[in-house]
Symmetry: C2
Subunit: 169 residues, 2 copies
Amino acid sequence: MDALEAILTRRSIRKYKNDPVDEVTIRMLLAAAMSAPSARNQQCWRFVVVTDRPTLEALATVHPYAKTLKEEPLAVLVCGDLDAEQTPDFWVQDCAAATQNLLVAANALGLGTVWLGCHPRADRVRGIQELLGIPKTVVPLSLVAVGRSDEVKGTEDRYDEKKVHYDRW
Amino acid sequence: MDALEAILTRRSIRKYKNDPVDEVTIRMLLAAAMSAPSARNQQCWRFVVVTDRPTLEALATVHPYAKTLKEEPLAVLVCGDLDAEQTPDFWVQDCAAATQNLLVAANALGLGTVWLGCHPRADRVRGIQELLGIPKTVVPLSLVAVGRSDEVKGTEDRYDEKKVHYDRW
C-alpha cells in the first residue's frame, strides 16, 4: 500500500475477526516499530508479543479499554526500558513513535489496530507488569490490539487549518 | 512509495539542499501528522510552519541541535495545546505519533527530516515559545527540519530479536 494512503486511512479498530496473524507479519510489524527514530538513537523500546488466548483475555481485564482483546488474535505491548535510557525523559516519545510506525505498517498489511494507552496510568502499568512478569523498570507505554478488522470505517479527513500557524503563532 | 519502504528507509538527515518545499507538499505533511490517533481523539496538536529565513536561523540558535536549520528551507514545530487536552498527560504521546507520521510521509515524498526534541527540556521550550510568540500553555514537543537531503544514508536494519518477548517477559 502507498505510504500516504496507509497513514491517511488508518483508523482505530475495535471489532476483529479471530484469524491468526502469521509470524512473518509480526516480524514486519516489529521491524517497522524499531525503525522509528529515538533520542540519541537509544532504542530503549521493548516489545511483548501476546498471542496466548488466556493471556489476551487476562489483559482485557487489567486494562479498562481492552475488551476488544477478548476477540482478537494478537496484542503487541510497547514498553520503555528505563535502565536502557540514555537521554532521560525521552522514552515516551520514542516508544510513541515506534507505536505509530507499527499502526501504519499494520494498516498497509491489511490489518486493523487500536492503540490502548498505558503509561502514565499507574493502575494499568502495574496490572500489566504483574500479569506479564515485567520488571518495574520496564514501563508499558501502549498496548496495541492487532487483527483483521470486522468493522467498516471510512477515511476521516482530520486536516484542520485552524491548527496551523505560519512563521509565528 | 510503498508504506513499509517509507517506514524502513527513513533516516535522520542533517544536511539539506535549500530548495523550497511547495505548499501542496506542506499541506500533505500536515494532513499526515493530523491523521495520527490521539487519546479520546482529542487532537490537541498544533503546528507552526516556518519557512522565513531569519526565523529559521533564530531557531537554530535557541535549540542546541538545530544548526541544520541554517541551511534547510522548512521547519515544522509540533506542539501540544494543554488547554485543549481532554485526557490529561497523553498529549506527549499524541504529538509524538503525529510527528512520526510527518517523518514517514516526508520520506515517501522524497524529503529528508530530522526530529529535534524540545519538551521536556525547559530551556528549549521557553526559547522557542518566546521566539515564535507561542502561549505558555502550548508546549513545543518536536521541531522537525524538512528538506531535500544532501547526504547519502543507507538503510539500517534495527530489528533486534533481543528486544522481543513472547506472551511473558
